[in-house]
Symmetry: C2
Subunit: 308 residues, 2 copies
């Protein structure tokens, strides 16, 4: 976001649409509006930076023995191709099996099952498109030699690349059909995510017997969708109102202990405003409330959201 | 900046040092402190992202016919090598001559003089180091063929690369020895900078006969150092207090008309706080004052700076 225009609670229009690469007239005022969910002003226009279209991509489906192994493979790929690593997603074998149960015409990319899978996308702009295949093969060859993956296949064409992404994108729907679950949109520091998933899954499954923890998603960004599936045969709404609420509180407690966020992608809104009040750094709440009171003293803008 | 710790005016400590790649718990609170010049809190720690060391660079000194031509060359280089373009500086011939007057042992990189020069640096990390020379030669070859530059030389080694940068870095000192001048740290949108320099130079030299406008610096970032040299023979302090003040006001008026910033790099402090009050978007001043009053109601933190 290079520039913004926003209407303030007092009716003034903040206008900063002209993009400047360097500007040091104090702190960056437009950051007040980005992510504030309409609580500080109404954004009416924005200037965005555009990037050249990508010319080429390679999509890889790799089998690894654990989410820790997936993390080691991620670090290797980052070192090998740097910013060209566009995506690194993880899927546990249970979720892939759920996809095949839900969509029987989908095909397993590898000959055998592995405990975890990594979906890797590497991209190139026009200037680097010619050498992309070579660089990706070198990256995977070194990973094999270093024992960082058990098996992998590079999509032979765009149809196959889309099919690999289709497996990943079908996971949420396939998981939902398995029964009631509490879903959590969380992040922790990228390097902590594998151990967080292992430890939090163990803690939750011990505290709520019969539940199953499932994590999948954006390992490269340090955030995953962390689902806790209800025990078989429970009544969905009753479970969600009872154990489900306790489970979410425990997930949020654990995330906070690991220095993470209870909202990686989807914001606070009204759903998480009480949890934000319960778990946020007290000084962060001071700042949030002070800025809200200063810019919207009458509480006109999106009341009840974000600011506890 | 991935994380910050800051002491607030009420003594609370805002602690957000843990880096999270994705976090959507409202707007980004740490942005309140970045660039606020200590007026909203005392920053006591920060988490910074580190980048791999660069393995290789190529430094080029190119002659072009105008600052507009330099801009066309910049766009060509950005297209050719993308993010590998680490620096693109412009120096007018008059400033290069001032460097030779000031430091007679320095050498002109080209055989003849040109109206403007571009100092270009292209970099590579270890993975791309081998092909850097080839890519830079292709970039310059295409520029020659397209008539985007008149002459250019690639530094043969690090010593020569340092010598090219030495010319650029000696400009401020060489210009200062020529006599009194008003210096301005300004930015406008990157694509407007050449026309801004041409038009603002003409306007100022017409309004203040005998003065000379000199612009040099970071064309790739849309900001230049814009100096207005006093007429020969004037008394420095008297000129600075009289015409010098009017010149600065006119520069700031012009920058504001072009949608730019009166402080590209060096902040507002107390030197520019009155000019900020005179020229900033009124709603921006509302936001600045409201946030300051909310976070530091007693005005304890760096009083008199930044907030008019």
């Amino acid at each position: 976001v290079l520039g913004l225009e926003a209407v303030l609670a007092n009716g003034e229009v903040y206008s900063a649409l002209t993009p400047l690469k360097k500007d040091n007239r104090g702190f960056d005022l437009k950051q007040l509006f980005i992510g504030s969910e309409g609580t500080l002003g109404l954004v009416t226009a924005a200037t965005l930076r555009l990037l050249p279209a990508l010319a080429e991509r390679r999509v890889i489906w790799a089998g690894v023995e654990s989410i820790q192994a997936a993390r080691r493979l991620l670090v290797h790929c980052e070192t090998a191709v740097g910013g060209a690593l566009e995506g690194f997603e993880v899927v546990p074998d249970g979720s892939l099996q759920a996809v095949f149960d839900y969509a029987p015409d989908m095909r397993h990319p590898l000959e055998a099952s592995h405990p975890w899978y990594a979906l890797i996308e590497v991209v190139a702009d026009a200037a680097e498109a010619d050498s992309l295949g070579e660089r990706v093969e070198a990256m995977l060859g070194e990973a094999f030699e270093a024992g960082l993956l058990d098996d992998a296949v590079i999509a032979a064409n765009e149809t196959q690349a889309e099919a690999f992404w289709g497996l990943r994108e079908t996971v949420p729907m396939a998981e939902r059909t398995k029964g009631p679950a509490k879903q959590h949109d969380i992040s922790v520091p990228v390097e902590s995510m594998p151990d967080f998933v292992t430890e939090a899954s163990g803690t939750l499954e011990a505290a709520f017997p019969g539940c199953e923890a499932v994590a999948f998603g954006h390992l490269g960004d340090g955030n995953v969708h962390f689902h806790i599936m209800a025990p078989a045969g429970v009544d969905g709404p009753a479970w969600e109102a009872g154990d489900g609420k306790k489970i979410t509180a425990m997930v949020h407690d654990l995330v906070t202990q690991w220095g993470g966020s209870i909202s990686a992608e989807h914001g606070i809104g009204q759903l998480k405003v009480d949890e934000l009040a319960r778990l946020a750094d007290p000084a962060a709440l001071t700042l949030l409330r002070a800025v809200k009171a200063a810019l919207d003293p009458q509480g006109l803008l999106n009341p009840g959201k974000l600011v506890p």
